[in-house]
Subunit: 317 residues, 2 copies
């Protein structure tokens, strides 16, 4: 059933991505929407709706809405400034220029709003438009808190709630809402999505330092080079002495990064156990997600959602 | 009445622009939203609703929605590419970097959707989300057709319908819709907004060449330097001989612009009467806007809308 639903989502995405007047649009989005998308967010909406016994067709529209919002934010994340390029940051939008990334992202946002309006569910519209505002706020907050050692775990959590968990929570909440489920189920599904999203992002941020084992892979260190204050860094900074603080000030706040600095940073994280404790925090949130499911109807789909919570942290092993 | 309504719109804009978590947001938008905004678009929504006897308060929310969408598109228009800077284009976002322009624009888009959802009018939601999609499509189309002599008047009209008339038409259509007016009135108000928007943009594009008199002012020639295919250029190119075509190919398609080229371009436009004929076209659309008003209730507000149609082209005299 979910496989059929997902095929319908994919067909709808292809249909609505097309633009009669601006054929360039699918060209820009195709590599994002078609290729290797894990489709995790739309899966959450589909499973949440079916789990609550939904028998209509609007969950497909809401699932496509969620994926469009996600793709639009990816496109807008690709926008870079000259100063970033100078700093040697990896340029995400090599394929497309800034202007195209912005405008095609806007088009996908607009398409997503059209789709959700078509469902006629004002409550779903409230949830998703609120999520869109929280996402944008989180991105601005991240921009403002980047490169600052003053970033606390509270601010970090707020940032990742905005950039990741807000859409996860909206994706899982609209399912029971259109299924007409009771309020306890709606609240439980929202709590599940929120915890899953937080766990997912913490795991991602940890993987950027090679995971708890700090295994140096191909993409390790991107966040370090971009001077992002993610949880492993925040905890290592908090536990560091004066000398270590001088190191972090140089590489994160001043952006003066030299050969071997990433290895030094990893060494400090290992010394203070901040990679291991970050891993534990990711697991805690995954457990919180599983626990939230106690209030929703039992069955195969609940098991699937529970396994998803295991899956987001299993990447850390 | 309209003055009170507009004061309410301004208060609502200030309230919703604020962000508890990301105080940088109002800082970025203040100069756009507070300063010298003509507030033409929200005025259209307020007048259209009142004209149809609307006595509720949702027209204020819809008017603020329209202004937020407009401001967000302005912010996203500010995003530039390095290649643009190299070309000597005026950099609109000197104050704010690309990333801030994108993210704060996204925040305003999200806020606008929240506002319109609060009205609970699904029909208004349909109209405004459709407009948002047409706006984004128009921007992409403009990007694709820029710098190409193959741009026809049809493509030009499609571009300006997207970038300007779509929001004007939505702004005037949602007024009668929330007022519960009859379909002929809704259709007439939409036709008025569309014609007004087309007239407004053609006038703007003509003023960029100094108006029908080609008076060289401070900002004259911006579109020329940005190699935009606006109506005066399209008509001059169409009427030109082989030698003139070589000139246009050099300055618009190749972007090889030299001292005196703007004056040459203006001379060609004058020779072929393309400035004068563009002025006539702007007047034609203003007349179409006024004519559409025949189907809406008489009175002071209808007179105001009729005067607005005169006003957008009066700038050309």
């Amino acid at each position: 059933m979910l496989a059929d639903d997902m095929a319908a989502v994919n067909a709808l995405i292809r249909e609505r991505m097309a633009s009669e007047h601006a054929p360039r649009i699918p060209e820009v989005t195709a590599h994002l929407v078609e290729a290797g998308g894990k489709r995790l967010r739309p899966l959450l909406t589909l499973a949440a709706a079916r789990l609550c016994g939904y028998a209509g067709a609007d969950h497909v529209k809401l699932a496509a809405t969620v994926e469009f919002i996600h793709t639009a934010t990816l496109l807008h994340d690709d926008v870079v400034d000259e100063s970033d390029r100078r700093r040697g940051r990896p340029t995400a939008n090599l394929l497309w220029d800034n202007k195209s990334s912005v405008l095609v992202g806007d088009y996908l946002f607009a398409r997503s709003f059209q789709l959700m309006v078509e469902t006629g569910s004002l409550r779903a519209l409230h949830i998703l438009s609120d999520a869109a505002a929280v996402i944008a706020e989180g991105e601005v907050l991240q921009l403002a808190s980047a490169e600052s050692l003053a970033t606390t775990e509270d601010i970090y959590l707020q940032v990742i709630r905005g950039k990741t968990a807000a859409l996860f929570a909206a994706a899982t909440e609209v399912g029971p809402v259109i299924a007409g489920a009771g309020e306890p189920v709606v609240a439980a599904m929202r709590a599940y999505g929120d915890a899953l999203g937080v766990s997912f992002q913490i795991a991602d941020d940890l993987l950027d330092y090679g995971g708890a084992s700090a295994a140096l892979g191909k993409n390790v260190g991107d966040d370090f080079r971009e001077r992002k204050m993610t949880l492993p860094v925040i905890r290592a900074v908090a536990a560091g002495d004066t000398e270590e603080r001088a190191f972090w000030t140089r590489v994160i706040e001043k952006g003066d990064q030299r050969e071997g600095d990433l290895e030094t940073a990893l060494g400090l994280m290992r010394r203070h156990g901040s990679l291991e404790s970050t891993r534990e925090t990711a697991y805690d949130h995954a457990a919180r997600a599983r626990a939230a499911l106690a209030a929703v109807p039992e069955g195969e789909l609940r098991d699937l959602l529970s396994q998803l919570a295991d899956f987001v942290v299993a990447r850390l092993n």
